[in-house]
Symmetry: D2
Subunit: 436 residues, 4 copies
């Protein structure tokens, strides 16, 4: 038995120790022979630090898994069983620009939502397409677990335009399950949530505890102050009438749509203060983290990593890989081809829904027509995503403009154009498709 | 041969002379025996003025059509062949409130679009339901031509919740055809436009002159300064890149979505000036008009009516009635049950599309999936309409809140609640369903 | 903890000992307080024999479950947690007629497929509707596990026309899984089959062993002589080219469609011989079985029951009940509302597909458009079922005629009429809806 | 003004004089410069006879239209405005085989329906694909009016696999309209029929006279003996209960499905008598016709042509061409891409429905879900067509077998195989795709 090869595209990320920790914990069900951490030249230093830490962690766990860190993408991909994509084109500096450009126009500046997410998508699509060409050639049977944001949009681009077997994954749904469990004080295995929507725009339509519908109890607790958010999103309280009438659990990112003005004020305030935007905070955090990682005595995932915001990231990823490898027929919430699951969206749209995972892939549980209260927002954001994918692939200014105009957080054509021009200008280094 | 009975619900409207003029012009194809102008007590004075003018017009034309003006709804409806609904619950005063309330929150204040249209819908639904019950009883075979705004939403409420045979009609599409003809300097009978969308949210996807696609020429002319708007919507110029990339003809009301900030500024400025909101301007205009109407020597449609904004209203209505009565199998752009015409929208959603009209009704020409650039906005506005209809029928505060939250012109839950509370409070007299 | 009440409508069936055996085996996960065996007057004798045997079996197992046998339907239903419907209106005598009438016209005579199944549906629908009215009143939260054939059609009638929570169940899919396991010599828990279709018209589209696609191996073995059939269907071999080109596993009942002439010959021969039709064989078998059941020393499921044809019936039913009760989130193949699972069929059509079962019901895994090779037959049989349900509810001769004309096994309108007239005449006692 | 070029692929057909007659009658609205009659070497003699007759007809009409008859396909196609395809691969001899092979197995033997139509499709698809490649190159803007049978299936093959602008046309719907007019004794311009279905499987769902629903009257007349059939289909009377319960007008070809056994008997009897199959009768008729055509004094469409069976063929074709050329926005019943018109069928399926014709093409009027009574048969025949197209393109034996198994007139897999083997063997000269 030769064991599995896992490659991590963007392996120099500060999240990697979390992932290594996850693999170590599941060693009894996932016989991993080799973990190949791949990064690009600009990230070589970080990659080395992380690689060394990973090796110390593996050693401490008494395992023989080989940790390779390299800049050779084709070698990383060749023969992989699982490929995890968690890279960030342009790094945190580009993210900081993504956050700041929209603020100039009084528009939400966020990494994955709105114009910030659009800019990130434009930078990412050319790179992911290149990677997928390599995968088609060098590891055509591998499973790609795509974490690269905007994860739903990027997964849709992969599934529409390559032959790669990809599943999009995000820690938001698993986070919502865990927090529902916390709220009720029970183990998360007893909780089932019926999710429906898109990545970073997913609603928990019903929450069950041991098969009993407890959605009302969760809503009451949320209104009472229980928290269901992410590190990177201000924890503003939900309006009572709204949440009661919605009668579902919004995801943390919904705040950008439902509390647009409040969040915009917070963002502007932070950006104008010493705190800076989220990317700027994270840059400082990362610096500290890598200092910690460098410590040659550190041989486990450090506590400080929790502040970074990727809670359950490792859990979601490693348990998904295990469900595939072990043919578990287990429910996971992932991003897959719609194929009629949500009525009204295109068959080839990617949606974030409850799926059964086995060795042959992810099978969505049928949903049907969404309730109008969430169908409208889902449809318009999906329309934006479809246009953004086309723009990202072709570098067509017109498609890009239509994408931004369609986005519900962009208030007018005039602002859409200003945003687009700024985004192209400030990212031109990463936008070969827009160059000609 | 006994001739047709046409009843006009809201017959005291300043538009009525336009309609009478239309019937007179088509007398050779529409043998009308009786026109019953119906209004409510508050409108009795106007009704009498309009009724007298109508009688003088008929007399001048040498016709024997009987003009009845009354407050007796059941008599007006009984045995009608065609029933035209053009009433405005609460009159122009309510409209002025619809326009001013949103402006308090920096939200577009417009009669049919956004929160203003929502308020109008809430006032109208209980009344139209009552009317339809009478029609079901007293004129079950009649055709209802619904002009009452928001015309698409109200038509959907009728088709979903009554057995009345209704077709929703608006002068926007015919206006767009006529203006395309003007731009090209040709007769409008040579123009065909492929429309798709919702009432007051309809795109001319392609314009043909004698079967040749001239969309590009129209777009160039529009960018060159040609005008395609309504009296009630500021004639802001379209952005060149946007219009070229859209490659369709937006309807005048699209400006509220595509030029939100510019129109909001204009509205606020007008509201704060002597000019006032559109309703306030129209109130003055109406006053003048009725003075003109009173003149016992006036026996034709007065010139001043053109300023009122209902261009082609009579043309659209009378030619539609004639197409039905004469089984013309002619193309008209009307509001009908979707039934799969636009893929992705519900079967029972009402859409504004090209239809073939004959004696048995309106048959939409198939469209399929809309291009993402217009699919998203169409879907989200339709979702709003579906929620608004439910709210209007039930008086359910939660549904009403969700409707406003879903509307793309309402920026957040907080503002949605403020708007909703203001709307209910200021309209409570007309909102029996919200009273309990 | 008070335990569950299970009622069995048609409790006097010879299958009941199988069911009791199943409950005994799962006692550790299903705490059953009471099993209420219900039958009608004509079945009283059998009911008593079965009831006594059931009591002896429970006693031998050392359990305290109460076995009640009665003719009081309302008492049986009242407060049940699970209600199993396994009755046969008119008994085996009616089934014999269902089998013989079509043979007169050289048409397949089968209990659930073709005109025989149609006759059975006509007799069953009025009775199941009555039962459901009682359930709505006396056990509104119960789960109905419908085994009554034609199981898909009857389940669709229930779901369309009552508020009862019903799941249709058949032993064919579980039988196909078990036989695939036998063919490969592995435990059936390692097999997953992707099913799609309708009850008694379900295809195993792909067979997986531990997540590996082994469809080809199963097909080769079937062509080599491995058997995948039911006791009641002659085990004719599949044509090699056909099975290879189908590349799916047909269910045993597909032989009626794919080998129509061969099976018809066999049926005619059997009917004209001493062997008789299947119902006639079963009548003899049942006689023997009840003689065995009467033996006061018998306190377990007798071997002879295996010949009866209901293999895995108990397994399918009891494991489904346990999956619901224990909120297992486990995959079962059941009959549920389509709701977009199979593209092209109506939302309210009932389909037989892989579902995830938990305490709140059965959730189908999305399928999408079927391959044309199976889509056509599925669509036409479903159209027949929809018409048959309408006919069964209303007693409308025209609908009934259209149903038979639509059925692919009925060769012409002329024969459809002859069949229909014979069926109504010979079943008139059980067809109150057709009487007037 | 240079006038139009029309080419006729299969120009040596005995139908051509009908077509020439039609063009002469519409000369005021269709300025045709050149009619290019194309045929293949085997048809050279007929082509010359028909060409000469056409020239005499044009001369008599005093027109200057140039009639070219040639064997040069590329010349015929080059620069055409309209291309009419009315060829028959293998001629009437192949048709005779198509009719006789099925009869060996007691299966309907018919030119376009069932296995006969399948054989014809297999011979036609390679040829039409070649023609379309030429059209893509030499007349990319031309309109192809496809009459080649099976017309719906062939049109679907063209639209799915080429870039050619094709509309499928059949004289059945226009024939049904004309006969409804005859039955009522009115001009056919006053009749509208709502058609839905597939080519040679189309139902007149409602018949209107001046907009009044007269379906019941037509049905009564049909039951009274009025005839609505084609020359090539025996005029068997409809069953009263069936037609009343169908409440639609079946097309003549429906007899093959609804009266299978009666028509089969007739066919077998004819085939075994001197009369022979329809192809054999037509062969004699054609011989006579060409003798008549040869007469150098004949300069108009001869009476005898009426027996040939193509009533309204010219009318349907020339009026369709005129509707396109003159941008008429007129209703025609043609074969077009479904695109959601009939719910449940694939978007790219070709359906026969009411369309509005203008210079830019054929636009179907939306239909929605068909009533189950016709939905089932439509779906299963369409599934057969989809498989047959794949088989015809690829020569895949498996696809071909699945196509025949799926066809409702083929009773079993065994017979399907025998049919397929016979069809391939006897047509191998025309089936290059099946050769390897």
């Amino acid at each position: 038995m030769k064991g599995l090869k896992v490659s991590v595209i963007g392996g120099g990320s500060s999240y990697t120790p979390e992932l290594i920790d996850g693999f170590i914990k599941r060693v009894h069900e996932l016989p991993i022979r080799e973990i190949h951490l791949l990064d690009i030249e600009e990230g070589e230093n970080k990659l080395e630090i992380v690689g060394e830490l990973a090796r110390r962690m593996i050693k401490k766990a008494g395992l023989s898994t080989k940790i390779i860190s390299s800049l050779d993408r084709r070698e990383a991909i060749r023969g992989s069983d699982f490929i995890m994509t968690q890279f960030r084109v342009g790094g945190l500096k580009a993210r900081a620009r993504d956050e700041r450009i929209p603020l100039k126009y009084n528009v939400i500046g966020q990494e994955t939502t709105g114009p910030g997410g659009f800019a990130k998508a434009m930078r990412t699509i050319p790179v992911i397409m290149d990677i997928c060409r390599d995968i088609e050639e060098l590891a055509p049977n591998s499973w790609v677990i795509n974490f690269t944001n905007p994860a739903g949009l990027i997964t849709e681009a992969i599934l529409k335009h390559t032959k790669v077997k990809a599943i999009g994954l995000c820690n938001v749904p698993i986070g919502m399950v865990k927090m529902a469990a916390d709220i009720l004080g029970v183990d998360s295995s007893r909780i089932k949530v019926d999710f429906a929507g898109l990545n970073h725009l997913v609603w928990g339509r019903k929450v069950y505890l041991d098969g009993e519908n407890v959605t009302d109890r969760i809503i009451d607790k949320l209104l009472d102050g229980a928290s269901l958010t992410m590190k990177n999103i201000p924890d503003l309280k939900w309006d009572k009438d709204f949440l009661k009438s919605l009668n579902m659990i919004p995801c943390p990112y919904h705040r950008y749509y439902y509390m647009t003005d409040e969040l915009l004020s917070e963002e502007i305030e932070a950006a104008n203060s010493e705190k800076g935007t989220r990317a700027e905070q994270v840059q400082r955090l990362e610096k500290e983290l890598f200092e910690v990682y460098k410590n040659p005595n550190l041989d486990e995932k450090p506590k400080q990593l929790e502040k970074r915001g990727g809670a359950y990231y490792s859990d979601a990823a490693v348990s998904l890989i295990s469900a595939i490898y072990n043919d578990k027929k287990e429910m996971h919430i992932v991003n897959v081809r719609n194929n009629g699951t949500i009525k009204g969206l295109s068959d080839d749209a990617v949606v974030e829904v409850n799926c059964i995972i086995d060795r042959t892939g992810a099978y969505p549980i049928n949903i049907g027509k969404l309730w109008s209260g969430i169908d409208g927002l889902t449809s318009v954001v999906k329309a934006y995503e479809e246009l953004a994918i086309e723009a990202g692939l072709t570098g067509d200014y017109n498609k890009a403009l239509q994408a931004l105009v369609t986005h519900p957080l962009v208030p007018s054509v005039k602002i859409a154009k200003q945003l687009l021009d700024d985004i192209i200008r400030e990212n031109i280094k990463y936008l070969p498709q827009f160059k000609s």
